[in-house]
Symmetry: C2
Amino acid sequence: MTARERRFEEEPSAAVRTRTRPPTMADVARHAGVSLKTVSRVVNQEPHVRAALQARVQAAISALGYRRNEAAARLARGATMLTLGLVMENISNEFYARLAAAVEAASAEHEALVVFGSYEESPDKERMLIESMYARGVDSLIVVPSAADHAWLAEHAGLTTVFVDRVPPGLDAADAVLLDDVWGGRAATEHLLARGHRRIALISDDDGLSSVHDRASGYRTALLAARVPADESLVVRGVFDPGRVAGEVGRLLDLPDPPTAFFATNNRAAIGILHALRERPERPAYVGFDDFALADVFNPGVTVVRYDVSRLAGAAVNLLLNPSPAPRRIKVPVELVTRGSGELPPT
Amino acid sequence: MTARERRFEEEPSAAVRTRTRPPTMADVARHAGVSLKTVSRVVNQEPHVRAALQARVQAAISALGYRRNEAAARLARGATMLTLGLVMENISNEFYARLAAAVEAASAEHEALVVFGSYEESPDKERMLIESMYARGVDSLIVVPSAADHAWLAEHAGLTTVFVDRVPPGLDAADAVLLDDVWGGRAATEHLLARGHRRIALISDDDGLSSVHDRASGYRTALLAARVPADESLVVRGVFDPGRVAGEVGRLLDLPDPPTAFFATNNRAAIGILHALRERPERPAYVGFDDFALADVFNPGVTVVRYDVSRLAGAAVNLLLNPSPAPRRIKVPVELVTRGSGELPPT
């Protein structure tokens, strides 16, 4: 049995284990100078309790901060309740907001609460966040890792961690729930090839991220299979701000031999394309990776590679709650949703 | 001094106060059978430590789960670190996602972590979430309340709560940070009136929510001031799903004397209008309340009443950290951002 596994079984939740017990009905009874039965009758709103007694009990309840609730009752019985930490790039991005909602829903099924933190683009902040959560008793983590080396996490025997969306560099022996990124990148590109496009641009984020790398590799595989030469001048890497993406899209459309189609490896890149096309006369085809709430309101609607975020979150929570000494990789399937933008012909 | 104030000063954070101390360098030294100085040299990656000693120290570090970090060091010195609870309707809605990001950023400045929970549309779930957070040591709460009665919260002397965006029904004596909703509703409506619109529809959410109520009251005030009779057949209440909003917008546009403009009291209502107009030939003017990321990508861009979410969050965190026995109300200003949809003429 590994240290990690042992810890999980013997110490279900440090945060809960070490908390002082909440005040009980007996405390209230003692404070009010009444019987336990009287407190119980007041708390359960049973009739026939004298007003004066009722007031005394209510005063004691307020003074002690007594709360009648099932959660507290379970805690008092020593039941285990977890607090999960969720560490992401930025919760205000729609992908992360959806993931947070799904992690919360999956956690609630196991009566777990979720602490969240955003590291923006700073690996130092990511590490600090995780350390800070651990210091406060959070020992189960769901992390969407940045591109930085995560080998330092291996030293933390006390942390049960599942990575989501990306493999953490430097930490192969970790549980991870990933999307089928290669398949998605290939499907998006084949979809554009099937409409006759031959000059297909790739707009991608930091390709040190395994997800971005794999989506780009699906794109290259599709081109290779169709015997379409990959043109590196149509490949944009390392842009994650929609404004900068828009600039790059404009630059590509101004090339002497411009692309007639785009594959955007995430929602920010797709939104950058939308920004760029607002100002341009061209109507190139494009397919995005990640669905977003307004994708079907644009005209044409935005064709995307989509997946079920609740499966991503559910699988991660499930791995956390069922730790195993051997690292596990779960791949969540993706699908192509056609809405119009990916079906435009070459011009 | 009230019970609430006293508690805050004497018990800065139950969750932190009662946690067992993390392992120290001295524990590692004892476990490895080496001097403290040796541990320190290994931890600080100083040169000239023999490989065998280094390995023993690393093994002890792993076994004890020792972490060298500032947060743990501060905890060991007994410093106070808070965990704030953030209770919202649904974090996957853009307003809440932005609020969560801003609350997290404001909390991080005070080295506080954020636990979040969504209650969807269930007041029972809202109460359960709050109870459950409290049971786990969270004693500082930021709540965007549902329309349900919150009088029960007054009994919890141990909870320091600030309400955001809406006043909690049944709990007048609570701190709240609100938007200038009346002003925003009035400004949006006056903007449409100034372009010559006289039949202006109102698309609103549950008007049991103080924010929705106040935005609608700004709308009525503007009509009254312009001597434009309010037409109740143009007022839609209680729709919060963009799909249902789209249906209502279609129904209004099919009226014999349809509206030429719309005021949407939140982002979901504005998005519902976008959905409806995709399928319609009419080009009514519209103004939304709440900005959203893609508002300027549509053509025309979406004119909205906007505010600084980080001011909303910062003020809430500030009230939490500086409790006062007298309830406080803070009003965050809003502004109108013109992008095209609100400047269309009547047709």
